[in-house]
């Protein structure tokens, strides 16, 4: 692992040691750039996701209708 200095005081080797001994690897800011793999949805979960999509579609139409009637 390498330290990073962006003009706010250099990160010393003792800082580096402190970070490595105190934080879990997943807590390191640099590691968060890696995406977590996408979840494989099963039957019920797929049903829930499609229900959410239909819900959103319905509510969007209702909201747009409401805004349109309010404006007129």
């Amino acid at each position: 692992m390498t330290p990073k200095d962006e003009g706010h005081g250099s990160i010393t080797s003792s800082d580096q040691q402190l970070v490595l001994s105190s934080l879990e690897p997943e807590q390191l800011a640099g590691l968060k750039k890696h995406l977590i793999p996408r979840r494989h949805l099963k039957g019920l979960e797929k049903f829930v996701m499609w229900s959410l999509r239909i819900y959103l579609l319905f509510m969007m139409v209702a909201v747009i209708y409401q805004v349109w009637t309010s404006l007129h």
Binding site: L18, S22, P25, Q27, G30, H34, L35, Y55, A62
Partner: protein, 463 residues
């Protein structure tokens, strides 16, 4: 090093890569050292010190939820219904909030990832961007209502609107410019404690404690019965119990604070204490304005500081001033937490650095989003003749759109064994969470219907 469940599903090659250590990591490591030292010691004092070090996100999110519009809503409830049904009901809503917020704290501690990035990664870009945009719009509109509350509260003391908005923005700058999560959190906690100013205001009204005790046991009286209007207020209160920004904020703050699996037990205490404090402030606000109901003073059209003016003949200038200050505090704390919630979510989805430990140079995007949201919302409040009713309606509609997906994703993520490992919700907790999620979703839906189609409840035979 202690590897968490994410390490098992992230490609090992990436974990072995040359990871850059930043100042954000160093600051967080210093905080964790103090936690480890407190944990290593024995004795009651050390236990309390450990608790003191770990509390924060839970208390802040709950007291942040007691924002300007919420306190005005509680004041309106007290003025309209007095001491009765709504006192135990409000306490119940905070119990539901504990169930939901505990899941976000657990998710953050187990995965060290924010809510927005987990949705983005696990459910794909569509839901990730949807959550982000919906949260952004909802937060921005809510921020406008916070600035309205600040303006109204300071207006009680004769402060002109521009000065009220400017002071709120200066407060936001001062709160965030410390570049240190720990300092920011402690400062905001101290200010958020001022939410309890409604307790002395309630005491000044000399509440009838026998009526309060009776209401807590019997859930009565409910003046006017379960009419159409009352049902809408009930649904609005349920819908306002858990709002999307709360889910995103507590999880991101938990990650930024650096809580780990070992801290979950104390994280639960943090969330519960926060809910208890917020419930006390909410009930106190209802008690504070209950005399308006008892004196048959019409309060249906009162806004913000007008409640303070209406209470002044009953509790004096000092009590009224405390009430107005409480509204200001509620708006100020919420404006900070909501702005930060937007900035966290943006950073997570856009893969930009997002932490209150970041120096400005490294967190330009994070701080820019934070200040732009707040400054624009503040500027909008200064527009003469702002249609406040329309803004509030839009806030509710956006919340209704966002809540069901947010709650469903939260439930699915908390039960995702790949990222949570053995920290997935146990069966009893899932049963409780399912009931709360279904209840909140249905209440939000019904409230949305009541906003979009106000005559709908006439079919239910309302009075």
């Amino acid at each position: 090093m202690n590897l968490g469940p994410l390490s098992r599903i992230l490609p090992q090659a990436k974990l072995q890569e040359d990871v850059v250590i930043t100042h954000e990591d160093v600051d967080r490591a210093h905080d964790r050292v103090r936690v480890s030292e407190a944990r290593a010691q024995r004795g009651i004092f050390s236990r309390f010190r450990l608790l003191w070090l770990l509390v924060g996100p839970g208390i802040l999110v709950m007291l942040g939820e007691n924002d300007g519009p919420s306190m005005i809503s509680y004041a309106a409830t007290g003025a309209r219904f007095g001491i009765g049904f709504f006192i135990p009901f409000v306490i119940l809503t905070f119990c539901m909030a504990i169930v939901v917020q505990e899941m976000t704290m657990r998710l953050g501690s187990a995965t060290h990832r924010g809510h927005a990035e987990l949705i983005f990664d696990r459910f794909g870009p569509f839901w990730g961007w949807f959550s982000m945009i919906d949260l952004g719009i909802g937060n921005f509109l809510t921020l406008i209502t916070e600035f309205i509350a600040i303006r109204a509260g300071l207006g009680f003391f004769g402060v002109p609107p521009w000065a009220a908005v400017a002071s709120a923005l200066v407060f936001l700058c001062l709160a965030v410019m410390m570049h240190r999560y720990w300092t920011w959190e402690r400062t905001l906690l101290a200010i958020a404690a001022f939410n309890l100013v409604f307790v002395p205001v309630a005491l000044l009204t000399h509440p009838n404690w026998h009526s309060v005790g009776s209401a807590l046991i019997t859930w009565k009286p409910l003046p006017g019965g379960l009419s159409q209007d009352t049902l809408i207020i009930v649904l609005a209160d349920i819908g306002a119990t858990v709002t999307p920004w709360m889910l995103f904020f507590q999880q991101s703050a938990t990650v930024d604070k650096g809580l780990t699996r070992k801290d979950i037990h104390l994280g639960r205490i943090d969330t519960t204490v926060g809910a208890a404090l917020a419930a006390i402030a909410a009930v106190a606000t209802i008690l504070a304005t209950a005399p308006l109901f008892a004196h048959h003073i019409t309060a249906e059209n009162l806004q913000g500081a007008e409640f303070a003016q209406a209470l002044q003949p009953l509790i004096g200038r000092f009590g009224a001033a405390l009430f107005a200050l409480g509204i200001v505090e509620a708006g100020m704390v919420a404006s900070v937490t909501i702005s930060i919630s937007s900035a966290y979510a943006f950073g997570e989805v856009a893969r930009r650095p997002h932490s209150l430990n970041l120096p400005v140079g490294q967190g330009k995007a994070f701080y820019s989003v934070l200040f732009l949201c707040a400054a624009t919302a503040g500027a909008i409040v200064l527009i003469p003749g702002l249609p406040l009713v329309y803004v509030v309606l839009l806030v509710n509609v956006v919340a209704v759109l966002a809540m069901p997906p947010a709650l469903v994703f939260l439930f699915m993520l908390a039960n995702d064994r790949e990222i949570m490992g053995d920290l997935v919700s146990p069966r009893w907790a899932n049963f409780l969470a399912t009931c709360v999620v279904v209840f909140l979703t249905l209440a939000g839906l019904l409230f949305g219907v009541s906003v979009i189609a106000p005559n709908f409840f006439a079919f239910l035979g309302g009075k």
